[in-house]
């Protein structure tokens, strides 16, 4: 029997409180992130059972899904949203959980602020009632999204009952070409595997491309793991990880840091460890990506045409329904298609590096008059960096304004809704029907592709606008 262990095995196995034969494992959870939408019914459950939160010090609450991205200093206008936000604040107070609500300096998207404050650490188990919890896997943590019954479970017992998923390693070797970003790598992998190709698996990303990637980039890739059906994705912690984590508010310090480091350094997958499935891609095959359909697997290199129905996996009827919703035809080129909205933000691409990329391309250009652009930082810390680094001045000069942090148009629970029939080039994670507002049509892409669309008013290859020396 192979005794070599994977990163995933090491973290999972060290958190198993109890194994149930032919059933799930009882898995201990180190960090539980809570937001306003998927928690109220869980807190109601605790109250009806008359029990407390077992480990409030391991539980962190922030408001993000429902929050407005302008005038956050004013009362929230939508009564239902306001009520949900008030419930989270009251529940946090009642159960002794730290709450970073609207107006709090640490407020922001749950998957952006977790890493920013060092809540996210290598080797940890992290859950949240949100499927993009997979983001935190960038640090070598096991992080996955859960439902509200499971939120209640973790609040009550700090444990969750889960069957151990199968393991998959995805290697991307070589170096990325000019204008190709972590978002493109993820959209490429999803387009190859389809939106359900990794269902039942936990993924480890390995290879040169991920070793070279920044922590922000790794978070973007791990974030999108769920879009190919995987419960989560993770990357072995390395010097970049430790450098990022060090010195943050909730990171261990002093002797505790040394002890943590000694453990974290043992985590990477051992040579010879086996995965249930292993796939390798070549970085040279990846170009800037864009989606043309209604799930994240429906993506193509930006210079390619929309595939014919008989060339894609799955049912023809479902495929045609999707193109009909988008009002696209088989064989269409995506380049040059007019667009109406651009959204830069979300837990996928709402970090400082994403704003740097976007700004690098719009610098010295102007927003196209037919485009409405929503630039929404993932947190106040990101917002501050945009200002401190001088990006805001460049963006303003090019005709763009910055909004306040939140999930915003990624899922359009607040007022940031794309109208029916309109096209949005979006750096978010889902292009489902109506995701960005009833009838909205979403083209998922990187911050660079979004920037190129924002200044040209149509789908444009960012490489055409990039200067040669930025290669």
């Amino acid at each position: 029997m192979n005794t070599k262990k994977t990163l995933f095995d090491k973290v999972w196995d060290s958190h198993v409180v109890q194994h149930i034969e032919n059933g799930p494992d009882v898995l201990f959870i180190d960090r539980h992130l809570v937001h306003e939408v998927t928690s109220p019914v869980a807190f109601l459950g605790l109250k009806s059972r008359g029990i407390k939160v077992l480990h409030p010090e391991k539980t962190f609450a922030t408001a993000d899904h429902n929050t407005p991205t302008i005038n956050q200093h004013l009362p929230v206008a939508d009564p239902l949203s306001a009520n949900q936000l008030r419930m989270l604040e009251e529940n946090s107070n009642e159960f002794g959980i730290s709450y970073w609500g609207l107006g709090h300096e640490k407020n922001g998207i749950v998957h952006v602020v977790g890493p920013e404050y060092g809540i996210t650490q290598p080797g940890a188990t992290i859950v949240c009632g949100d499927s993009h919890t997979s983001t935190h896997g960038a640090f070598g943590a096991i992080a996955f999204g859960i439902g509200t019954s499971e939120v209640e479970m973790v609040l009550a017992t700090q444990c969750i009952m889960q069957t151990k998923p199968k393991s998959m390693r995805i290697n991307v070797e070589g170096s990325l070409g000019r204008g190709v970003t972590p978002k493109d790598v993820a959209l490429y992998i999803i387009s190859q595997l389809t939106t359900s190709g990794a269902t039942g698996y936990f993924v480890e990303y390995a290879g040169q491309v991920f070793r070279d990637m920044t922590m922000e980039g790794r978070m973007t890739v791990c974030n999108l793991s769920i879009e190919m059906g995987a419960r989560g994705g993770m990357i072995a912690p390395d010097e970049k990880t430790f450098e990022y984590v060090k010195g943050r508010e909730f990171t261990p310090a002093g002797a505790a840091w040394d002890k943590a480091m000694a453990y974290w350094e043992t985590l990477p997958t051992e040579e010879g460890a086996e995965f249930d499935k292993e796939i390798t891609f070549n970085a040279a095959d990846i170009e800037p990506m864009i989606t043309y359909g209604t799930n994240p697997g429906m993506g193509i290199g930006i210079s390619n045409g929309i595939p014919q129905a008989d060339a894609v996996e799955g049912g023809v009827a479902t495929y045609k329904k999707s193109l009909q919703y988008m009002n696209f035809s088989e064989g269409d080129s995506m380049m040059g298609k007019p667009i109406d909205f651009v959204f830069l933000g979300s837990c996928t691409n709402g970090r400082i590096e994403d704003f740097r990329l976007f700004t690098s391309l719009v610098k010295g250009r102007s927003k196209a008059p037919n485009v409405t652009a929503w630039l929404v930082p993932g947190s106040h810390q990101v917002e501050k960096a945009i200002k401190d680094e001088g990006l805001l001045a460049i963006l303003n000069e090019a005709g763009f304004e910055l909004r306040e942090p939140g999930c915003s148009a990624c899922l359009a629970m607040n007022d940031d809704k794309v109208p029916a029939g309109k096209y949005a080039v979006s750096t978010s994670n889902r292009n489902f029907e109506g995701r960005q507002g009833p009838g909205s049509r979403t083209l998922l892409a990187s911050p660079l592709v979004a920037a190129a669309a924002a200044v040209t008013g149509k789908v444009t290859d960012p490489r055409e606008l990039m200067e040669l020396e930025t290669a």
Partner: protein
């Protein structure tokens, strides 16, 4: 919270043979603002079911009186996307107790099992047989037996087994939930927690 026990169900079925039905279609995000688990069935498949002015879309299956029953039959990769348990609540609240598909997204499957909706995964071939049986007779009934772990097309008697882990099966048969189990092993959890570095 504990939920209804599930043993055997005999019912007609509602066909929705579309692949990759995501949880944003099952319940759009704008209907996630409730703070209690009530009324989600009204907005099940909201944007496929209703026009923007609130009138019914006549061609959508839930608006077709020919089809009804407690079994929803979906296409491959049912329930992908967001982890919102509200999607499972909407399915339950509308009146479905079983969802049949040839493939389920993980989180949706777990959410269903946690609230007492039984996800029944069948082969693509058997899914096709079920859909054909409904097409031939919208009143065709199916029997889903949890103790036997089988789904049967009553008309033809054809049957296929389905998987469910022993623990979850016992929970559904008895109407127990995971929290009941976890609270019972709280001493073991406490001991484990005392040793954690984080």
């Amino acid at each position: 919270m504990a939920y209804d026990k599930f043993n055997t169900l005999k019912s007609s079925a509602v066909p929705l043979p579309i692949e990759n039905v995501d949880t944003d279609q099952i319940i759009p995000a704008r209907f996630l603002k409730a703070t209690e688990r009530k009324g989600f069935g009204d907005n099940l498949f909201r944007d496929w079911r209703y026009n923007s002015d609130g009138t019914e879309k006549k061609d959508f299956v839930l608006n077709n009186p020919t089809y009804n029953g407690k079994i929803l039959v979906g296409g491959k990769n049912f329930g992908s996307g967001s982890s919102r348990e509200h999607a499972a609540w909407a399915v339950y609240d509308y009146g479905f107790r079983v969802v049949v598909s040839s493939f389920f997204a993980d989180i949706f499957r777990n959410n269903c099992l946690n609230i007492g909706v039984l996800p029944v995964q069948v082969s693509a071939e058997f899914l096709d047989k079920i859909l054909k049986a409904i097409e031939a007779d919208p009143k065709a009934t199916f029997e889903v037996s949890l103790p036997e772990q089988t789904i049967t097309i009553d008309g033809s008697g054809e049957s296929e087994p389905f998987d469910i882990n022993v623990y979850k099966k016992a929970n559904m048969l008895n109407g127990f939930d995971d929290i009941d189990y976890l609270l019972n092993i709280s001493e073991e959890i406490k001991e484990f927690a005392s040793d954690r570095p984080l």
